[in-house]
Amino acid sequence: MRRIMLLVPPLAVASLAVAIFGAEGVGGQTAQAAVPGPAAAPHVVKADLPGRAIFEQNCAPCHGAGPGDDGAPMLPGTMTLERRYQGEIPGALELRDDLDGDTLRLFVRNGIGAMPMFRKSELSDADVDAVAAYLKATAEASAVK
């Protein structure tokens, strides 16, 4: 039976946050736990499917495979998953071939951790299915299992 991994696990951080914005410190960089994973952004061969644009507009700003802002090695959602999986499976969703529409929908509609829920007005069930098809095809094209 295929194992389903959480998209965004609850963050294993102190229950009371280091302050947002103000307590980031003068460097503007929040202290982060060590993040395993590739030193450079992984190679992603993007499948030419309708879900690509939906993913890029709705998911990739957090779950893309590229670097994060202001020196962060990864985008927030990817980094969170990378920390959780510790290299066991990819943190970047575009390298995941185990996420079908129902699995994605579970997290999209319910949110998890710092990821809020998405409404049908912004991401329809059909959109989620299209993203799932895109992710699977992209992961396969990128030859990562």
Binding site: S15, V18, P61, G68, N110, G111
Partner: protein, 537 residues
């Protein structure tokens, strides 16, 4: 369905929903618990508590005519509507309403960029347009304008500005409501109204002259509940030719007073973009002895803080400056800022930062080449929407209290001390208010500080502490003349209560207006602390 609208039974609610379906189509009305889950506030400190506000349904119109139809149906059934734009008002309530049983009027489908003019420098958009959408539109069409966006780019210019949200570029654009110009509003009776020059048929200057003639009611729709904004114009900055940064540090705690005065001058003279203040001493907060000093009852003395800075070999304060414009102008303005500040504050130092032509390259956007540790978040600084900021969101999010204070060093010291002392019973507060806390220069002519503790859905004890601390923070700040600028529905009454001059004359005026325009509370009753007669206790 989990909840019903106020004063409506199940049979009439079913009839109401059927009318909504007739107006917008069955696919765009939701009332099941599953479908309404995403309309909860995922950042709520009262998650699964009695105080949490729940919608009874949601409806997503495609155009203004459908908005009008929904408002008229709601009026017949006296059902409160709670309009949202993209629904991303996280930290301030998300898409959840003030009144349980409200129907969320979800405007996400109204997502057209109606116009962007890069010769007259404005945009006209619908509520469902996100900052990502507007940025993409401008890029795709090669238009020479720059937007000013908040940290998370999935919010909407209309929703953010109606919350009086902010960005990070030049002063006249950072205040998003202040940079708006002209709006279209569906009133509680279903009529469509346009403000400013939009009220004059045939006018071509709706997005250029916001006042028109006579009173301008547009301010009533920001943090208010007098109508549903369906179009709104925004001024845009012409894409600057060049971007330059620089850092100023000052050695002593009291130097901050002069530093702020100089930066106020630079900002009010339109010479700089957002100035990002910080204290390098914040890096010492992990040290127990320093933490105790910085959070001590009554506050530390200047001499003690200066001794700590000297021992650590750190300056007491720094400010990141940013310059936009022609290359030569940015160079001269930075030189002027350096000369002005270094000549007046002994020991002040300046470091030249990154500078490059705009638009920035992908590499420049990543902000990895500053020769010093910078507080600037470059995507925001250059008006490029992103979600990179989500890296600092922990738990299930946070709530936000952002008291407004004067732009002076003395006021900063006073807020550090008073808020730290006033919230001493909440250990979490010391991380937000201490002797190293720097002001935020988001709004163009005022400072703010931030109290944004995190919450967790499965930790009601933590959430209760956060909730109590938030209410106490509002009260402590008000005792000192500081007010919150924006609040989640669960705190809006508390905050509105603090704006109480002359026996709450402002609130009573708003209530009079609300009673005249919307006595049954069809549009967002309670929003901004304004309740119509029907809902007033």
């Amino acid at each position: 369905m989990a909840v019903l609208p106020p004063d409506l039974d199940a049979a009439n609610f079913a009839r109401f929903l059927e009318e909504l379906r007739g107006a917008v189509g069955a696919d765009w009305v939701w009332s099941s618990e599953d479908d309404l889950g995403p309309y909860r506030d995922s950042f709520s400190p009262v998650w699964n508590q009695a105080e949490e506000r729940h919608a009874s349904a949601a409806v997503a119109p495609a155009d203004v005519e459908q908005v009008q139809a929904i408002v008229r149906i709601a009026g017949r059934y006296k059902v409160p509507l709670f309009p949202i734009s993209t629904g991303k008002n996280f930290g301030y309530g998300g898409p959840s309403p003030n009144v349980t049983g409200s129907v969320v009027l979800d405007l996400k489908r109204m997502n057209r960029v109606l116009e962007v003019d890069d010769k007259r420098h404005f945009a006209l958009v619908e509520p469902g347009v996100s900052y990502f959408d507007l940025y993409r539109h401008i890029k795709d069409k090669g238009l020479k304008v720059m937007i000013d966006c908040p940290d998370p780019g999935w919010g909407s210019p209309i929703g953010n500005s109606l919350e009086r949200g902010i960005g990070y570029t030049m002063p006249q654009f950072r205040d998003h409501f202040g940079a708006s110009c002209g709006m279209e509003v569906v009133l509680p009776n279903g009529e469509v109204m346009r403000t400013g020059m939009g009220a004059l048929p045939g006018s071509q200057s709706w997005q250029e002259y916001k006042y028109g003639f006579g009173p301008d009611p547009s301010g009533l729709f920001a943090q208010g509940n007098f109508g549903i904004v369906t179009k709104m114009g925004f001024r845009l900055m012409p894409l600057p030719e060049y971007y330059r940064t620089g850092l100023i540090t000052v050695p002593r705690r009291r130097d901050f007073v002069k530093l702020v005065e100089h930066v106020n001058y630079l900002s009010d003279s339109s010479l700089i973009g957002e100035a990002v203040y910080g204290s390098p001493l914040a890096a010492l907060m992990g040290d127990k002895a320093f933490y105790a000093l910085a959070t001590r009852q009554g506050g530390p003395s200047d001499a003690e803080m200066d001794a700590a800075a000297s021992k650590a070999g750190l300056p007491s304060w720094q400010v990141d400056l940013q310059f936009f414009g022609p290359e030569a102008a940015t160079r001269e303005n930075w030189e002027y800022a350096k000369q002005r500040i270094l000549a007046d504050i002994p020991g002040a130092k300046a470091i030249d930062g990154d500078h490059f032509p705009l638009p920035a390259t992908e590499e420049q956007l990543l902000n990895t080449t500053q020769p010093y540790k910078t507080g600037i978040r470059r995507y925001g600084a250059l008006g490029v929407p992103s979600l990179g900021i989500w890296r600092i969101v922990s738990g299930n999010g946070h709530v936000g209290f952002f008291p407004v204070l004067p732009r002076s060093g003395e006021a900063v010291f006073e807020m550090q001390r008073a808020m730290c002392d006033g919230l001493r019973e909440f250990p979490l507060a010391g991380r937000f208010f201490n002797a190293t806390t720097a002001p935020l220069y988001w709004h163009s002519y005022a400072f703010q500080m931030v109290f944004a503790p995190s919450v967790k859905h499965d930790d009601p004890a933590l959430n209760a502490e956060v909730h109590a601390a938030m209410k106490k923070a509002v009260a402590v700040a008000a005792e000192h003349g500081w007010g919150d600028y924006r609040a989640a529905p669960i705190y809006q009454d508390d905050v509105a209560d603090t704006y109480s001059f002359n026996n709450h004359a402002l609130r009573r005026f708003h209530e009079q207006l609300k009673d005249a325009i919307d006595p049954d509370g069809i549009v967002a009753p309670g929003r901004g602390g304004i309740w119509p007669r029907r809902f007033r206790k």
